[in-house]
Symmetry: C2
Subunit: 455 residues, 2 copies
């Protein structure tokens, strides 16, 4: 009989899991349940659509009908999974089912890809019309319609999504204020010295920032009229919360799955879940709902990135369908494009490292993305970090006008492989052509400085 | 007394060595001898200057006067080093000197950065006016002056420099024919399936190719009028030989230094030379004149790249000045930008691997440089190769409209660290943002295919 695989969630993790399961088992009956009305899109694209650089239709890669026809995957959109169960009662058959819109459905293998929820602080007024999060195409369309003839937008949270959105909305003619609790943009994953130039760039194009300021209330009479922070009222027509994502563990908690120290699901390298410390053979997890192992320091870390979700989804899908795949510890490289600036990071920032009690040394160098004499070169700054005790590379951040992504992937590979700063100097090589790099790439120059600082 | 360091050669290796020696020892007396009249430029830039994208002055970073003033380095341009010696006669002092334009000069430490010579086949007519190589600014200016009012150019050799030049000269209105001995462009370091699209692209903009054809004679009465190949005459006004570089070991042979299997100098990890199998403590080598150890298979390899030269120069310079640096085995990543196309490679190609007797498996995938729904995405093809027996990643090639460099450096790091294809799938991560990559980068898709092909 065909194996019955149920996937809950249609984000990058869920859809990758469904597709990988299909590649692994051509016979399985695969069903995806989602409360979304669209599938197969990258929510990271939403800021650019709101900025007019693409369209809602353009950012959706496939329809549910396409999945049915091309991959024999059934997608139930706009459904609500109310409950899920996996239990092994003594002397009775294993209980394996979910409840969807009041109906019980059995599964052989369950893949939990329930993603994350945007964290909205428990303050007054967040239920007013004009309060939004940025997570789905449907939500994006609502923002677009609401702000069409409105001008003043507050973005709560200066993470990368908030900043990408701020740039695009200013470009679309809006008056944008970003309110951030910390004293820097992109807190936690970027260091202040690397984040400050991004804030300065956004200020130069008209974005206003209110720093070290929590949003304490949303005010308005029937719709958003202002937000309050530290005794000041900021008049606005809409508030978009881009305040980070928490693992959506509601269903996992119903099953009783083990939740880790970071508030997300714990998974084996096969991405099977645990319950009371025991491996659950039939339930897989992937995407923003899970925590990962750090490849840098022993311990857990979050990697709520689209690229991680796809890799996790593939592993969960292959294994659920009877194949053999493993998910390794992560360094978690990320990149954000904000107008003419790119900022990228990988592994430890100073903030992340402090969580592991680690002391870091760093080396920073500036130069260009191309040969300095090649027309069109952009400024490029690389900060490379190593553990002060072991000299192992543990992370990096890059700000540049172009080509930050390849460089951060390159460093990620060195971090993953446990290279020390000294080994990196001796062994790391960069390809060179005047239009694409300096003859000695700025990454290597940062390594020189790092080694000097370690001595 | 100040240590007397002599550097022979003012290319990327020689100038990096001189600067690194100065950083290491502020007191040393450092002199660079060169037959060139310009220093501190990247010859890789010459095609773009001939194409009008920059100027001769623009591509030169520093003058000899700048080095004298800023770094206390003496540069003797347009000098000819006729002889060099290092000997340790029994019962007599060590002989350490060079002969420059008839004068003997003693050294404490000698750095040989004599570079390479463009290989010109031993055929008739190569001494005619209108025959050029592409290696120095001076030579570039001569080409520019000679072809200014002439139209038909033959480029002998379809390596990356030949192709970059072909593109730029067509753009400058010339009629360009490339004559290549092998059956593909970029032979040896690129595989035919990856090189053919580059040839097709150049053909589409008007470059003519004559393949599997050695240049057998240059003909003309007082100046170049045609070249002959396989019985056919190709009328032309100038011939530019871009037929690869051989190590320039003339001086090294006078000293009696050991030359390896690939016709270039053998060096220790400190980049000290050998003589009769013994380490020579006072002579260092760097740049195109030396052979490297391969980081992929045991054995020697050539890495005649500007990026390698700079790294080698730094190591030689630091050590010659009394510091401590090492040069590791190389993977040797390279990249070439030819108009709207980029081609990059690292480690083994099928051709290079055959030299080591290795059997490879490969995986190839195509996609885009950005998210497929992000405007401006370019096509991107990645070919990833592993040793068929050990499954270790051994090389890769990329063709793309953008961002090949970072990706090839990323793969280079994985090859260097000995990752298998299976480990790469489990562990390799890519940063994602719609304007700079697909959520699962094409590099990872190629790895999927490689693992399938290894099974």
């Amino acid at each position: 009989m065909a194996k019955k695989i149920i996937v809950i969630g249609s984000g990058a993790a869920g859809m990758s899991a469904a597709s990988a399961a299909r590649e692994t088992d051509p016979e399985a009956e695969i069903t995806v349940y989602t409360d979304d009305v669209d599938v197969a899109y990258s929510p990271c694209m939403i800021p650019w659509v709101l900025g007019g650089k693409s369209s809602w239709d353009g950012m959706i890669m496939h329809t549910p009908e396409w999945y049915a026809k091309e991959r024999n995957i059934t997608i139930r959109t706009a459904t609500h999974v109310e409950a899920a169960a996996w239990d092994m009662p003594r002397g009775a058959p294993v209980v394996k089912n979910i409840t969807v819109d009041g109906k019980t459905v059995e599964y052989d293998k369950l893949i939990l890809a329930t993603g994350g929820k945007v964290f909205i602080p428990p303050i007054a007024g967040t239920d007013l019309p004009g309060v939004f999060t940025i997570r789905t195409v449907k939500g994006g369309k609502e923002i677009e319609a609401y702000i069409k003839d409105r001008k003043k937008i507050v973005i709560a949270g200066a993470g990368v999504i908030g900043l990408e959105l701020a740039y695009e909305l200013v470009g679309a003619g809006k008056d944008v204020t970003v309110i951030e609790m910390m004293d820097q943009v992109i807190p936690r994953i970027a260091d202040k010295d690397m984040a400050d130039p991004i804030q300065a760039y956004l200020e130069s194009i008209g974005v206003k920032f209110v720093m070290k300021a929590p949003v304490q209330a949303v005010n308005g009479n029937g719709k958003v009229e202002s937000v309050s922070s530290l005794g000041v009222d900021y008049p606005c027509d809409a508030v978009i919360f881009a305040t980070g994502v928490r693992a959506n563990t509601d269903l996992a908690m119903m099953i009783g799955l083990d939740i880790g120290q970071l508030g997300a699901l714990v998974a084996a390298p096969t991405l099977q879940a645990y319950k009371n410390g025991r491996l659950v053979p039939d339930v897989y997890v992937c995407g923003d709902v899970m925590q990962c192992q750090s490849a840098v320091y022993p311990g857990p870390t979050m990697s709520q990135l689209g690229s991680s979700a796809v890799r996790e989804g593939r592993v969960a899908g292959i294994n659920a369908a009877g194949g053999d795949a493993k998910f390794g510890p992560v360094v978690a490289p990320w990149v954000s494009v904000i107008g003419d600036m790119q900022i990228a990071g990988t592994g430890m920032s100073l903030g992340l490292a402090s969580w592991y009690g680690a002391k870091l040394a760093s080396g920073k160098a500036s130069g260009y993305s191309r040969a300095r004499y090649f027309p069109g070169h952009k400024e490029l700054t690389v900060k490379l970090m190593a553990d002060a005790a072991t000299h192992r590379l543990v992370g990096a951040q890059i700000i540049s006008g172009e080509d930050a992504t390849g460089r951060i992937n390159w460093i990620t590979s060195a971090v993953l492989n446990g290279m020390t700063a000294e080994e990196f100097i001796v062994q790391a090589e960069n390809a060179y052509c005047p239009p694409t790099s300096m003859v000695r790439d700025v990454v290597l120059q940062a390594a020189d400085e790092l080694v000097r600082n370690l001595q």
